[in-house]
Symmetry: D2
Subunit: 350 residues, 4 copies
């Protein structure tokens, strides 16, 4: 699926089969899935116009696939292995890469944004970016490990310093990553998970993911904070995951936080936001983590562990509300834009 | 239940109802339970002879009770509250207490060892040592929160720096604390839990707690490590909890550990043990945590969270294999010494 | 020195010698010093009007003193000990106190704000709040350990998780706490310390504290970030301490931060501030710590260690630009308000 | 300098100039230095016989050099850059490498042990193993950054979780790494550093590195612990670095440790050691870190920061007691074996 020119949409087009370099593998795509980034590129919105330089280009970056060829320096993979992709292709030598922060490499290249992606029959991945999957993992689930990684990284942001065992967690915004975060928080031993969401479909899914309470702040108004506080033993939330990018949620995140608690910010706000630094941060001794990507590859191992936990795969399947053959990408985009879908899986039926 | 003199056994005896000080509460005991320490005191073994100075003394320290009187400075509790006891009575001003390590206070006094304990109708607790329980918590479960805290502290030893999300965990030795650790590890998101245990009753309970694999090293011999490695993706265990105090388990703990993994040592060995420091620790970059008590009170909050998690209370109930009226303590001790019981709960039926 | 009524100023007045309770000590004041809070109370500004309920009241909270009487339950102190005060008087039983966060106790009382303070001949302190000093420590230095603790807590905010060894540090705003932070960062092994400050006196002191570069952003304009980046190996600062409360410094803090770096916010902004959450926090994977008080008492031990380090006491003495007898408090306030002074020490000459 | 055959000694021999691969650089050696590993290989002791498979081989791994050629995929280095070597050549894809623990890569290759090393005119390094030095850094200092990294890694073992700010540190054994650890501990803000050492030359150097107290346990006997306790405010050491590999030091390490303190084990014991696990570890809630190599490359950045700190380079120069032209390696080895030298630098004078 190629973005042929700097304009909305995309088209199916025959492209040459890519050739892996010495440190790369060639992968046959078994399934892929749609991320918000892909929607931006499809719509060719302001962000995409500013960010995407290279057209025509194959876009898409969430996938599961089977290795069909390996470069001559590749040691850890062989033909037949099932893999997914870590989208961030890093230089390995910058300050961030050399200090355990590859996910914010100074010279990062993003699959399907800076180079050809995965909405295709075949894709090329550097060896290190190819994550080996359990052979019995459903390709549709394998493909959504990246957003699941975002969710887990927001929960456990920093060298695992911040666990959620027995904690009270608030998730503001239940898009696919928010929903995965609710599920992950419960599986990792959170005592209580409260979620906020306006969309009824997503609110229902949040409950199915295990949320103890789901609130619609547009309905609840000022009672939102009160109800969160009641649901969290009167203390407020120990951990807040802001996943909506909505200014009202930003305030709510800090209002609902217990003193000394922490907030992970993953949602994008698009414009500067206003915050009462004194009350929200200083007097409350709050801690804030900006969340970008997921740790390479600590988070992937945590995701692997989660997917081996009883009942977790079933939850992920519920979040994949639709499966669409990849040539019908336009229809899939429509399902997302109209908020009829949570996560859409793309079938490799050309 | 009083230890009347420096000799084996104990007796039921009428004692004056204790009076709480300004910072203390008087508690009516609803249930108590038997810890290994109580067995030592009952048997009056070498450890007890050296450690216990004060007789006659009421012993026992695991309890749940109802507050019936509060000292005049007490602010956080009132008559009718249900509480359990943190056994370590600390000075609050030593180096350890002032740096987040109350549980290893230099001047600690232990309930039922250094002062009157809880195998009685009434007990006195300092306000800070009285942990408020959810009103709907079964007193038998509430009473075993201390060993549960030991298990959780071994899993999450240090300011929560070391989580178990998605990790592979090995528990060597499935006494009551080992069993609770298996259950807690699974509930906190461990990918795989392997346990070792010789006793068939305990091995069965370990499986019921959720262990993915339970091995008897006396049967398996050298295959024990191989089987642990196979069950942990070939890497070995990320986290080992040594809860047996057996020298062979100490070696196994490090042999089965993945490089860079960590070992929590809770079991007591009674005599010096021999260890290949180079291979076990240095070349493996292993980390070791000595585990004593549980964090005051971070661990208690984690325990509270666990007990609010679906299905966890049921697991604890399975570990309480026997309930015995407290005047029949001799019979309860016999059940433990003969390894017919895992955890024995004492009913407040005088 | 009493705040006699709800209005600006204060007066010397004879008050009864206070009596220590069971868990308290009576201290003869050897020296005290002026904190920004005291200036607010003196000026009776909006914050003071809203916060201070109790008049007449002795104000002031930074002191060094000698214990002259101890309550009957006091164990860790005796008459003749030299002590300073931790200002936060905590309940010891709330959620925060029970989880290593006493400094943000839900029911905190502040010395010299909620109860009688230390601008007096005698003061009463709870045992746990009386910090024992080395006998040879200059009382003027001993008295400024609280703001020094603020500085150190901003540098090492969270269970020591975040050290500064070999790091590049930016301090925005060189009031007394900022100056102490510069000195502490250098002593704790920071590679480079850059400071920003407009006031020439304070800028000079920042250099004397060891700052490698001091910039005046009103002079440098957009070059400020460039120069910080050049001074930090092109990466930007690993650690930023925002100590000015100025909106322009807030933006600078994040602009000058290396991806994955951290910001401690200690300065108060008085009104909501606007921040580009996406660029400043999310894409940069920044971490933020709100800094309030100092850890009880981990930070105090770190301060003790610093004060035992060669050359550090001399630096603190340079920050104490003026020593004024306490009855001349009005003059001392004037020195601070006109920015002629950095830190003002008050001599116990009545 | 080639190890020509499986026997003691080595010889200068003409070898072909090596060719860098795509991801490698060719380096002209400016200085090198002798590590204990090189002594083992020179002596061809039991360890070397078992570990070194490849002869003839150039040995040696500590160096500083100038890049004279770069492979075609190299991006972060250019001809003329001054570099030192991280000796551990890792696969980048194993479990350890993918989780921030490259220094214990499962498939590590060691320079000068598994492949040609640096006691030569030219050496080849993978790009990621070539650490770029400040151009003004003395090559003799640049060459000892690896053992300096060992020392710093022992001080700050784990994601910087464990700092030394204001702490009391004990270093048992003052070989070159122990001496560097003493210097680093003081520069990173330790309050007190106590060292043990038998050799008078090294004991003197330990004092010059800043040790507050240096003890000879063979002279002091049982008073050793008492004196350490007195020098550490009666608490014992917060941090112990065991760098001698001597069984008596292992006991001392734990005896002198404050409850809740931590021990880094770097010295090798060659045979199993006996330890009172209960008293040393469990009751003391001690934490132990096995130290192998240094973090790649967090520790290198810390080392860089240290070397930029005033006065630190001068201390390193004092530890380099001898400079010997590399063809006179036999004489250099003799200086080390007879304990006349601390660190020996090798001059590139062929």
């Amino acid at each position: 699926m190629v973005k042929p020119r700097k304009a909305a949409g995309g088209e199916v087009r025959s492209v040459p089969e890519p050739t892996p370099g010495d440190n790369e593998v060639l992968v046959r795509v078994l399934a892929s899935s749609i991320c918000g980034t892909d929607v931006h590129i499809w719509e060719w919105n302001a962000w995409a116009q500013q960010r995407v330089q290279r057209v025509p280009m194959v876009f898409g970056h969430e996938l599961s696939g089977e290795v069909v060829r390996v470069g001559r320096s590749v040691r850890s993979l062989e033909v037949g292995d099932h893999v997914s992709a870590e989208t961030h292709i890093v230089d390995g030598t910058c300050y961030q890469c050399r200090t355990g922060k590859m996910h914010i490499c100074e010279n990062v290249q993003v699959l399907g944004v800076d180079r050809d992606g995965v909405f295709a029959e075949y894709a090329v991945l550097p060896e290190i970016n190819a994550w080996k999957n359990a052979p019995d993992l459903d390709p549709a689930i394998a493909s959504v490990q990246e957003p699941l990684g975002n969710a887990v990284h927001a929960l456990l942001p920093e060298d695992n310093v911040e666990d959620v065992a027995g904690k009270r967690v608030l998730v503001t915004g239940c898009g696919p990553i928010g929903l995965l975060a609710v599920a992950a928080a419960k599986t990792l031993g959170a005592q209580t998970v409260v979620a906020t969401e306006l969309n009824p479909l997503r609110a229902r899914l949040a409950r199915e993911m295990g949320a103890d309470l789901v609130l619609d702040p547009t309905q609840e108004g000022a009672a939102t904070v009160t109800k969160i506080r009641e649901a969290t033993d009167g203390h407020g939330a120990d951990v807040v995951l802001e996943m909506s990018g909505h200014p009202a949620s930003l305030s709510l995140a800090f209002d609902a936080l217990t003193p000394g608690g922490r907030v992970s910010l993953l949602g994008l706000f698009d414009r500067p936001a206003t915050l009462d630094i004194d009350g929200a941060l200083v007097f409350k001794a709050a801690r804030v983590h900006g969340i970008f990507g997921r740790r390479m590859f600590e988070t992937w191992f945590q995701v692997k562990g989660l997917l081996a936990t009883q009942g977790f795969r079933e939850k992920v399947l519920k979040i994949i509300t639709h499966r669409v053959p990849i040539p019908e990408l336009a229809r899939a985009m429509e399902l997302i834009e109209s908020k009829q879908a949570a996560k859409v899986s793309l079938e490799a039926k050309w």
